[in-house]
Amino acid sequence: MNLFQFCYGIIHWLVDLINHLWYWLGNLLPWWFGDFFNAVGDLAASHGNIVVFTILLEALVILIIAVVNVLNFIWIDRKFMGRMFDFYGPYYVGYRIGGWLQNIADGIKLFVKEIITPAKADKIGFYLGPVIFVSSSFLALSTIPLGRNFGIATNPSGLGVPASALIAFAFFAIAPFAILISGWSSNNKYTLIGGMRSAAQMMSYEIPMLLTVASVFLLAGSFDFMDIVSAQHDIWFAIPLALGFVIFLVCLVAEVEIQPFDLPEAEAELVEGWTTEYSGMRFGFFMMTSYLRGYIGGALTTALFLGGWHGPALIPEPIWFLIKAYIVFVVIEWMRWSTPRVRVDQLLNIGWNRLMPLAMLNLLIAASMKTMGWF
């Protein structure tokens, strides 16, 4: 039984329960009204409707998973950074669970804060920026399965959506659009420069990233996460495609905009980059989403290179998946707090002159491996 079937069962049971009440209610009514009433009930209990409700329930599940993971990530980030920086990290708010509640306290603070819109900003764009950013990131999460039976975008038969990996990357790549909109509409020189930098950076790093992902697709022979992960049952793709793995990690760091590639929000030169004018929960959304994208990055790396949920059966599959994603995130954070950030021309130089040829080489390696019949 996979997640879809589980949710379907729950919804089916609920709809049945409500329908029984409904029909009982309909029987009490006069016949001309009761027939209409029963017809509505039949329509509501139709298969298509139940599927829609199931998907909504799954969306709720993914939201909860995402939010809990984001809170965990921020907490891990702060604690790990704290120990690396020789201090304790969050401590007092919820000190029995290691200061975990500090993030919730910060979230409440951001909720209560005033949302300021600059007078000369483009109001619609200023409002749309965070919305697109958050929603596209959540959508990217929706196709990534956490386990063989724990995927969201699965059809009733338990198989994955045919091109789920492609969909995930497509949604993942919407972000520069949102950043550019919010940077431009803030009507501030720093945000504009930040947005432009972000657009240039993401576009130039999208290509080597997709090329390495293409090599994975080539080896797995499918666009589906389910197939890609099951293709790694014997050997993780990180081992034959070691070069591609490194390129993917570097590109991922650039895509998620964390150091040393966090140029769009470079604090020292462009006050806070494209988030300069945002305040309150809008800024909170940006910050939460950047950690969410960190989680997505870890999940993508796990699914594409680190064998997904494969592992000794002592631990359930989704937990294996999360552990791997967390480890990837921690390594990225480790790199983040250890290095300065690079300059924008150096960044583009690395992207086009170094990573592009290497990604092509990686694709060539993958193709030759496929031709040799090793996969």
């Binding site: 790990f80 120990r83 020789d86 304790y88 401590y91 480790w334 250890s338």
Partner: protein, 302 residues
């Protein structure tokens, strides 16, 4: 010191990551982080730390030198009634303006004012961090700490008892006591050059009137302004003697200035002020008290 290190490609992030990883190992697994959880744990402050002031009421003579040297004008003198000490004047400190420079502690001639290690003085109300003398009072504090400024015993003159017999000047082995005549009084008083004095106490033993006594005085690092007396303006009102916190001014009668009144009796003779400069702390109170410009003090504001 030219650097001869090779830059490997792996040095891109790996060498700093090695360092930070070692720090995580140190602060997470081997030991504890370096920081202090502040409101519950506190650091030890050295005894020289300059924080909130305390004031010893019994030592303080109310000279106001601290108020004068304060670069920020954050101190003021307050008049009080004390059951033990009577009518006194003591300083208060406005912590909202204080620089914590410690000059008030250094300049105090009796080391009555101290700075403690207390530094948590913040308050939402500005009036609450203005500490008057009663809030600063801590008479036991100076016994608890090791004093840095050194005391030295010096002979101190009580001019009321002195007869000008010149015995002390003859006895002094360092020849640091000189008899100076007091103008239009007809007497002379011993002037002690304190830098030369070795505190041999011979002058105290020889003094027939017990006018000289040994007293422990603190060494001062500041050259204080000295009052200059102008005899012709003096009316003998003794305002300066009342104002002087160190009892360095004595009013002496000037013989030959009695006026004959209408009924034939003679009035009391005119008085003049006599300064014993060894005792003077340079506060300028006499200068401010004098209404007749009979005292000059360069560098002190009226």
């Amino acid at each position: 010191m030219a650097l001869k290190k090779k830059q490997s490609t792996f040095g891109f992030v790996l060498r700093p990551m090695k360092r930070t990883g070692a720090q995580v190992w140190e602060s997470l697994i081997v030991g504890k982080p370096n920081t202090v959880l502040y409101p519950y744990q506190k650091l030890d402050l050295p005894p020289t730390y300059r924080g909130k002031h305390t004031l010893d009421f019994k030592r303080c003579i109310g000279c106001g030198n601290c108020v004068q040297i304060c670069p920020n004008d954050c101190m003021w003198m307050e008049k009080l009634e004390d059951p033990e000490l009577g009518k006194i004047e003591r300083p208060g400190v406005d912590m909202g303006r204080c620089l914590f420079c410690g000059f008030c502690v250094e300049v105090c001639p009796t080391v009555a004012i101290h700075e403690t290690v207390e530094f948590e003085l913040a308050d939402g109300d500005r009036e609450k961090i203005k500490f008057g003398p009663k809030e600063l009072r801590d008479d036991a504090y100076s016994d608890k700490i090791v004093e840095e400024r050194q005391k030295r015993p010096v002979p101190v003159l009580d001019l009321d008892k002195c007869t000008g017999c010149e015995k002390c000047a003859g006895e002094c082995p360092e020849i640091c006591i000189a008899m100076m005549p007091i103008e239009s009084v007809g007497k002379s008083k011993p002037e002690i050059a304190l830098p030369k004095c070795t505190a041999c106490e011979k002058c105290i033993v020889i003094c027939p009137e017990k006018a000289l006594t040994m007293k422990d005085m603190y060494e001062s690092y500041f050259e204080m302004p000295e009052p200059r007396f102008i005899l012709k303006n003096c009316t003998g009102c003794s305002a300066c003697a009342k104002a002087c916190p160190a009892d360095a001014i004595y009013m002496m009668e000037m013989p030959g200035t009695e006026k004959t009144l209408k009924d034939g009796k003679k009035s009391k003779p005119k008085k003049r002020a006599v300064f014993v400069l060894e005792k003077c702390v340079g506060c300028g109170k006499c200068f401010r008290a004098c209404k007749f410009n009979s005292i000059e003090m360069p560098g002190v504001k009226k």
